[in-house]
């Protein structure tokens, strides 16, 4: 087992895996479990990974399959997510960023965006997570979700229009440097 090669290929993508897990699962503890299980599965099947292909997409596919088969619960009923009331200190902006007021506004924007994304239907949320947040192409996202590329495009289009409506106040505050 090539542990060194596995870690070199996969660890750089752990932030993306955790972010996707958090958006799928909805809470930090489950997101950590899901990320960990994804890595263990990936370790066992690392021999099937094709060097040079998109490792992040490969990991996300493993994770999405795992979520669909073992973690998705009670889809026909509403899940009541509680706000854990925790602030992730790693979200603090670096010191060279603008002053505290603007930092606060930006953090509020991030929170508003996370909440808006969380309100999307799961299929839309996953498409946004894969393509808009984690930078996969539509074709790669289609492979992860096992749907046609056109379906991903359609979900993204509808998700973005919904998000535009929900995030209208925040959209005006995006800085030119962010674009």
């Amino acid at each position: 087992m090539d542990l060194e090669g596995f870690e070199a290929a996969t660890v750089p993508h752990m932030n993306a895996l955790y972010d996707a897990a958090l958006r799928l699962a909805g809470d930090q503890a489950t997101a950590q479990d899901l990320t960990q299980e994804t890595y263990l599965r990936a370790l066992r099947s690392f021999g099937t990974f094709e060097p040079g292909s998109n490792c992040r997409a490969w990991l996300l596919r493993i994770q999405y399959n795992l979520f669909c088969t073992q973690y998705r619960r009670g889809r026909r009923m509403p899940l009541v997510w509680l706000d854990e009331g925790e602030t992730d200190p790693s979200l603090d902006l670096p010191s060279h960023e603008p002053g505290p007021e603007e930092q606060t506004v930006r953090e509020l924007d991030r929170e508003a965006v996370r909440r808006a994304i969380a309100q999307l239907p799961e299929d839309f949320r996953m498409a946004v997570t894969l393509v808009d947040i984690n930078g996969l192409t539509c074709a790669e996202a289609a492979t992860v979700m096992d749907v046609p590329r056109g379906t991903i495009l359609s979900r993204l289009h509808r998700a973005r229009r919904r998000l535009e409506t929900m995030l209208l106040p925040e959209l005006g505050r995006v800085q030119a440097d962010d674009l």
Binding site: M14, L22, A29, T35, Q36, R73, V80, R160, L179
Partner: protein, 264 residues
């Protein structure tokens, strides 16, 4: 190309997913239409916001994942069979949350505001929360008895048919006992079940309103409250609150909740 045609292609255009011919038509339209050009800008603003909302993995997640991977690799090197990830000890934080969640499921029955309980660390020994957990743990381990006839009649008088212990043998669960329990002044019927692997399911019912934390959106009849990988299911029927929590496979637990929710 009309503005409506453009709007339908906006996302594909932004992502560079249009065919060359369509891309040229779209660019020509944008060059002549300020309204659609501003839509492209809003779309870029939106994607910038989305990118910025990414949540990095906490350092403890990095550490836990790497540790699990290295243990698994060492097992493989030693020729040991792969561990089932679902059976590995969960990370410390998840274990604590599961602990708190189960205790909270009980105390929510006592109409304690559970949303506050759920974010606190494990309680100090001797605290009410700790005592409730100890009671739950020991009673589950020892098994519940069967209430006296008088107690059963009292439960029936309070809860009506909801006091009866449902038969869950179709789900591989045998009755392990039931009893009346005082949950902070609420008379509750508590039933325990076990499956062949020792998995445990607890069903609690008491008369009252659903705890605030267990209320789903308006008009829904069954709500799942999840913390970590464990879920408790809550519903309300004829003035009686039902709470189902267990350590068995969570899909099976959901099926049971749906079944009981349909019956009650």
């Amino acid at each position: 190309m009309t503005c409506e045609d453009f709007r339908l292609r906006l996302t594909a255009f932004s992502l560079g997913e249009l065919e060359p011919g369509e891309r040229k038509l779209t660019r020509d339209h944008l060059a002549a239409c300020d309204d659609c050009a501003s839509r492209v800008l809003v779309d870029r603003q939106l994607t910038a916001l989305l990118r910025a909302s990414a949540v990095p993995a906490p350092s403890e997640t990095f550490a836990a994942v790497l540790a699990a991977v290295r243990v698994e690799a060492a097992r493989d090197e030693a020729g040991l069979p792969a561990t089932s990830p679902r059976r590995q000890a969960p990370p410390r934080q998840a274990r604590r949350r599961h602990w708190v969640a189960l205790a909270a499921a009980l105390l929510a029955a006592a109409a304690v505001v559970a949303s506050a309980l759920l974010v606190v660390p494990a309680p100090d020994p001797g605290s009410p929360l700790s005592a409730a957990w100890s009671s739950y743990h020991s009673e589950g381990k020892n098994g519940l008895g069967t209430p006296s006839k008088a107690e059963a009649e009292r439960l029936f008088a309070v809860l009506g048919p909801a006091s009866r212990t449902p038969d869950l043998s179709a789900y591989g669960l045998r009755k392990d006992g039931w009893e009346g329990r005082d949950l902070a002044g609420h008379v509750a019927a508590v039933a325990e079940y076990r499956d062949a692997e020792g998995g445990r399911v607890t069903l609690m019912r008491w008369r009252g309103d659903l705890p605030r934390m267990a209320r789903g959106p308006e008009g829904t009849e069954l709500a799942a409250y999840r913390w970590g990988r464990h879920t408790s299911y809550w519903w309300h029927a004829d003035g009686v609150v039902w709470c189902l929590v267990g350590t068995i496979d969570q899909d099976r637990l959901y099926q049971i909740a749906e079944h009981l929710g349909g019956e009650s």
